[in-house]
């Protein structure tokens, strides 16, 4: 789609970002020591810290990724919501209080509390860096997705804008201002998500024939397959032969009188009773009676010389140019209704369950002249399917008979469950409160705010799905576009909040990485003697470097659903950090070498698994149909137990050498 900036949106947006920066500068002046810079002097009130947890955690992935996934595929995105929240149970019941008791500034501090070992500091510092950078990618991609519709900037400009702003925040401020920014953003996000949900319920559902731009999606037929050429001629089109890449795809290309080529998907209608018998064997006789219907599709063609064509015409707003129509409509409501009027929180689901929604699939076709065409075609889907798990191909394990697919699904759900309590930017938030009771209370506040928000994601996602405003080429844009379908003001506010969401999470992550570099790697790991002020200065320098890296990766990963990317970060975090974190608390036999080995093995194995998976081959390296070198894509179910096993085995082997550790 093509986006034009709206003045109102831009003003509200910059006011918001300006306010955020202002708070940062104001509060940042006070944080000069390392205790202030990394841990806000341990003086943040528990309630504020709890909401800041929500601010840290409800990142671009939650807001943009999950809403987008639900808007395009239905229930499946909500599985992420459930897994992300479940992780907090591990954080609260197992990790929160010991973390606070053992550590000072960083997660490595807590791991190392018993051993005072450089090796542990180094390993934990490196794993913090790895997880933070993995987690940074989706945030930056999300930033680009937000700025595109809002300011009319290209993706890379959005990523750059966020990167530079965040680096400014982190360098000038530190944990005090980051916390207050997170508090502000966490509260606003939850409040406005609730407002948006109320508006969705008030709007109810309405039957439509296309998206919000008023374009009615055309249908031709039904007619029998044999009559196809004649029937389309009657409608004013000429049927083009299915040559080259178009062979064996369920599409036809039609040329109208002015020479314009359009693509249509073929829907095969159910054969009548008498013909059903033919399906057994007499295929020749059967095909003549199969009745079909054509549905207008949308296409994006990339020609070899780099030009982009939309529905066969050059992309643009001028006459003779075209842009993709926004999509997302309901094709049938229960009892033949046309409009439901306001709905309740329960009737929203029960009505959708009985309706039919037009979802969109896509297929890419390569042609002989070197151009590739992505065809987006309609897929009318019963509401009962939209609301059941397992429709998205990333969750095919739920409906597949293949044991490996099922393992892949269980593996992801395990990584989400174990990942939260291992995320460095969440763990450092336990050092901003004064004691263990505050750590506990702020986690409970966090769970309440985050849980409430995740309930809303299902309404937001389904509301977006039926809003008629979705951009086929980018699922990350679903939530802001939904807001725009409600009004410019709301769009401006939601986009600004989402943008500060990214800012907040990214600054938390960069701060965690900077802490790892300055505190764990340099000062403790390599034994570089740094004064308090030098440690802060090194951390700021590290922030700039990590920030620049994040900008580059954010530009590189443009087309990914950000929720999916976050799943990977969780896998790495859970595999590298959780085994040591948990075992130190529950087993006296843990040794220094055991911890180092577990962190290194967990991190390396999960990273390697992801880099060798079929998903990565397909989406990152661009090798389609590769099977990958590992049996399934999600590493958690293998690498998390592997981390535990490594820790236990190495600890047992090295126990005798280190009597002091027992």
């Amino acid at each position: 789609m093509i986006y034009e900036a709206s003045t109102l949106a831009v003003i509200v947006f910059f006011a918001f970002v300006g306010l955020t920066l202002g708070i940062s500068f104001f509060l940042g002046r006070k944080a000069k020591s390392s205790q202030g810079y990394f841990a806000a002097h341990g003086q943040i009130p528990w309630f504020v810290n709890g909401v800041a947890f929500a601010g840290d955690y409800l990142s671009a992935a939650s807001f943009l990724g999950i809403c987008g996934m639900i808007a395009f595929r239905g229930y499946d995105g909500f599985l992420y919501s459930i897994g992300f929240l479940a992780g907090w149970i591990v954080a609260l019941f197992i990790v929160a209080e010991p973390m606070k008791r053992l550590g000072k500034f960083t997660f490595a501090d807590a791991l190392d509390a018993k051993f005072q070992s450089r090796g542990i500091k180094l390993a934990a510092g490196v794993s913090t860096l790895a997880v933070s950078i993995f987690y940074l990618i989706p945030q930056m991609v999300g930033a680009g997705a937000l700025v595109t519709p809002l300011l009319g900037f290209p993706h890379w400009a959005g990523v750059l804008l966020v990167g530079v702003t965040v680096i400014t925040i982190v360098v000038t401020a530190g944990m005090v201002s980051t916390t207050w920014v997170q508090f502000l953003k966490g509260s606003l996000l939850v409040i406005f998500a609730a407002i948006l949900t109320v508006m969705i319920l008030n709007r109810g559902f309405e039957v439509a024939q296309g998206g919000a731009d008023g374009h009615v999606l055309q249908t031709l037929g039904p007619f029998s397959e044999q009559e196809l050429a004649g029937a389309v001629e009657k409608a004013g089109y000429q049927l083009l032969p299915a040559t080259g890449g178009w062979k064996d795809h369920p599409f036809v290309r039609l040329k109208n009188k002015s020479g314009q080529i359009s693509v249509w998907s073929i829907e095969t209608l159910e054969a009548a009773d008498g013909e059903a018998a033919a399906a057994d064997g007499e295929a020749a006789a059967a095909t003549s009676d199969v009745s079909i219907r054509l549905h207008e599709a949308q296409t994006v063609t990339k020609t070899e010389d780099g030009q982009e064509l939309i529905n066969g015409r050059p992309k643009g707003n001028q006459k003779g140019e075209a842009k993709l129509h926004p999509v997302g409509h309901i094709s049938r409501l229960p009892d033949g209704q046309q409009k439901t009027g306001p709905l309740g929180p329960a009737t929203f689901f029960s009505t959708l369950q009985e309706s039919e929604v037009v979802l969109w699939n896509n297929e890419t076709i390569s042609e002989a002249d070197g151009s590739t065409t992505t065809v987006y075609y309609q897929k009318p889907t019963p509401g009962s399917q939209v609301l059941r798990p397992g429709e998205d191909k990333r969750f095919k394990g739920i409906r597949s008979k293949e044991p490996l697919d099922k393992l892949n699904f269980i593996s992801l759900m395990l990584a989400l469950f174990c990942g939260t309590a291992s995320l460095p930017h969440i763990l450092i938030r336990y050092y901003t409160v004064k004691d263990e009771a505050s750590a506990r209370k702020s986690t409970i506040v966090g769970i309440a705010a985050i849980g409430f928000f995740y309930v809303l994601t299902l309404y937001l996602g389904l509301g977006a799905m039926t809003s008629g405003a979705m951009d086929l080429t980018n699922s990350n844009m679903a939530a802001p576009l939904l807001a725009r379908s409600m009004g410019e003001w709301l769009f401006a506010i939601i986009s600004a909040i989402a943008f500060t969401t990214v800012l907040g999470t990214v600054s938390g992550l960069i701060l965690a990485s900077a802490g790892a570099v300055a505190h764990d790697l340099l000062a403790s790991g390599f034994g570089v003697q740094l004064t308090d002020h030098e440690e802060v200065r090194v951390a700021k320098l590290a922030s700039i470097i990590v920030g620049a890296l994040a900008i580059a990766l954010g530009i590189l990963f443009e087309g990914f659903n950000v929720g999916y990317l976050v799943g990977w970060a969780f896998s790495v975090a859970a595999s590298a950090n959780l085994p040591s974190l948990v075992m130190i608390l529950f087993w006296k036999g843990v040794t220094r070498q055991g911890v180092i080995a577990a962190v290194v093995v967990g991190m390396v194995s999960s990273l390697a698994w992801i880099l060798l998976s079929a998903d990565t081959f397909d989406k990152v390296y661009g090798i389609s149909n590769a099977t990958g070198l590992v049996p399934f894509s999600q590493p958690g179910i293998v690498t998390i137990p592997l981390g535990f096993l490594t820790l236990i085995v190495v600890s047992l082997l090295t126990k005798k050498n280190e009597p002091a550790a027992t």
Binding site: Q35, A39, H41, G42, Y75, F78, L79, S81, I82, L85, A86, W88, I89, V90, L92, F93, I94, E97, P98, R101, L102, K104, A113, K114, A346, T347, F349, S350, Q353, E354, S384, L387, R388, P389, G390, G397, I398, R399, K406, F409, I410, M413, L414, Y431, K434, D435, E436, A437, R440, K441, T443, I444, I447, A448, G451, Y454, V455, L458, L585, A660
Partner: protein
């Protein structure tokens, strides 16, 4: 008190683990069950999902309630106190 909190935490964690595990395994091995609509015309996938979120909050509040006695004891401890405590460990 540390030990008591950890024990309560562990029990509640196991309760949630059973609920969450049930959800994941039901999805993986009996997906059709998730399509049933036992209440208000809403399917089990949504009911169980919302239920898990609610259960997390209820268990968290319960934990906070059960651990409340400890609050006064550690009040006033600061980061430097924690450092001292840490260094006192073997």
């Amino acid at each position: 008190m540390e030990k008591r909190n950890a024990a309560i935490g562990l029990v509640l964690f196991c309760v949630y683990l059973v609920l969450y595990g049930g959800f994941v395994f039901l999805n993986a091995f009996s997906a059709e069950t998730m399509e049933l609509t036992p209440l208000w015309g809403i399917n089990l996938a949504i009911l169980y999902g919302f239920g898990l979120i609610l259960a997390a909050l209820v268990l968290a509040l319960l934990y906070g309630y059960l651990c409340r006695g400890e609050t006064n004891r550690t009040n006033g401890s600061t980061a430097s106190d924690n450092d001292a405590a840490r260094e006192a460990r073997p």
